[in-house]
Amino acid sequence: MNFDWSILAAHLDLLALGALNTFLILLLALFFGVVIGALVCAGNLQTRRLLRLPSRIYTHIFRTVPEMALIFWIYLSLPLILGTSFSAFASGILALSLVAGAFLGEIFRAGIVAMPAGQVDAANALGLGFVARWVKVILPQALRTVLPAIVNFITELLKMTSLLAAITVGELAYQAYILGSQTFKYNEFFTSVAIAYFVLIFPVSLLARRLERRGGAA
């Protein structure tokens, strides 16, 4: 088994496109995931049980159904139900955003719940309004607590983007699979793509570990 560098160089454009798509998917899914997560978290923090219910159900479903099944369902079934069609890319983003929303919602909630109750009481006692209470007191503290968890989740999400290869979204894993099957040089493509993912993910997980340690020290 010898490693053919020239085949990698010949298809560098497609691999670069794949890496770019992976990055784009990550950013979009993360953005929508944060929005959904904030809504889910807001629902989960309601004092009335009935108002909490939708968020509870949402979190439960999207954390337990395998991502793969959800991706296929959104790509294959949802268009038939709605009577419209999405591109593979849009379906993939939608699926990952829904999953990210469920996980991030729980992370946000953990941060807010972990905050000492005295902080909110103090904000109330100082007569801070709703906006000032959230922007100046609750969010800065809660975000600092959960930042390592969020960064860790980003590495998970980055690995999850590879699943979109199943519905022919042209991200990194899909390009490797297609190029491998066209040229029969599986070794070259899978090895380089595995290294590419590692190079993307490792710095992020190092950052998470560093943030964790700093949080522990403070």
Partner: protein, 221 residues
């Protein structure tokens, strides 16, 4: 859109039920492999010899830092090239097992590092052998935080089994796609598969919680 209940109950449900054992088999065997392999990786990782512990750490980091899908492709397409031809299901179980072993190794390590240093010193002062130190002192104390985390990985492995459909393993996801393309009715096939996964995940979560309670009870008494 029209949902065909007759098709659902006469074709989709029986055919999916028929492959549920494959999914369960893949989950359980991968989990067992991950538990054992994870232990081996962890022992290498905490070895006092840096020649062993540093490469072991790098390997764990690399496995954790690449998507499972890429690893599965790697095993599926490259093992035959070096002369190892395994059935797809075995390849899938090995892939899931190795990936989760790296995760389990970190969990074990966290559990063992969690045991206060005084316990090690006391074991040494009492002149206990390495085997007895681990068996009677360290492992019983490190288990309580480890068990719930391992339970989560069990559910995680179950959630990862649909990836084996890439290797044409006849598990739930693969079967539902097959039904979908045979009858061109994806709605029923994929939705029912999703419901199957949801129900089985909830059952697995309940099982894990039950096992956790039992094991914790036994350790503390």
């Amino acid at each position: 859109m029209n949902w065909d209940w007759q098709f659902t109950f006469e074709v989709v449900v029986p055919r999916l039920l028929a492959v549920v054992p494959v999914t369960i088999q893949a989950t359980v065997l991968s989990f067992l492999l991950a538990l054992v392999l994870g232990l081996a990786l962890m022992l290498l990782r905490i070895s006092p010899l840096r020649v062993i512990s540093i490469p072991a750490g790098e390997i764990i980091e690399f496995i954790r830092g690449t998507p499972l899908l890429v690893q599965l492709f790697f095993l599926f397409f490259l093992l035959p090239e070096i002369g190892i031809v395994l059935p797809p299901l075995t390849t899938g179980i090995v892939g899931l097992g190795i990936y989760n072993a790296a995760l389990c190794a970190e969990v074990y390590r966290a559990g063992i590092l969690n045991v206060p240093a005084g316990q090690w010193e006391a074991a040494k002062a009492l002149n206990l052998s390495a085997c007895r130190t681990y068996r009677d002192i360290i492992i019983p104390q490190s288990l309580p935080p480890i068990v719930p985390a391992l339970g989560n990985y069990f559910i995680g492995i179950f959630k990862e089994t649909p990836l084996l459909s890439f290797l044409a393993v006849a598990e739930l996801m693969h079967a539902s796609k097959l039904i979908g393309s045979e009858y061109y009715r994806f709605t029923e096939a994929v939705t029912v598969a999703g419901v199957f996964f949801l129900v089985m995940s909830l059952a697995a979560a309940a099982l894990v919680r039950f096992a956790e309670g039992r094991i914790r009870g036994r350790i503390l008494h």
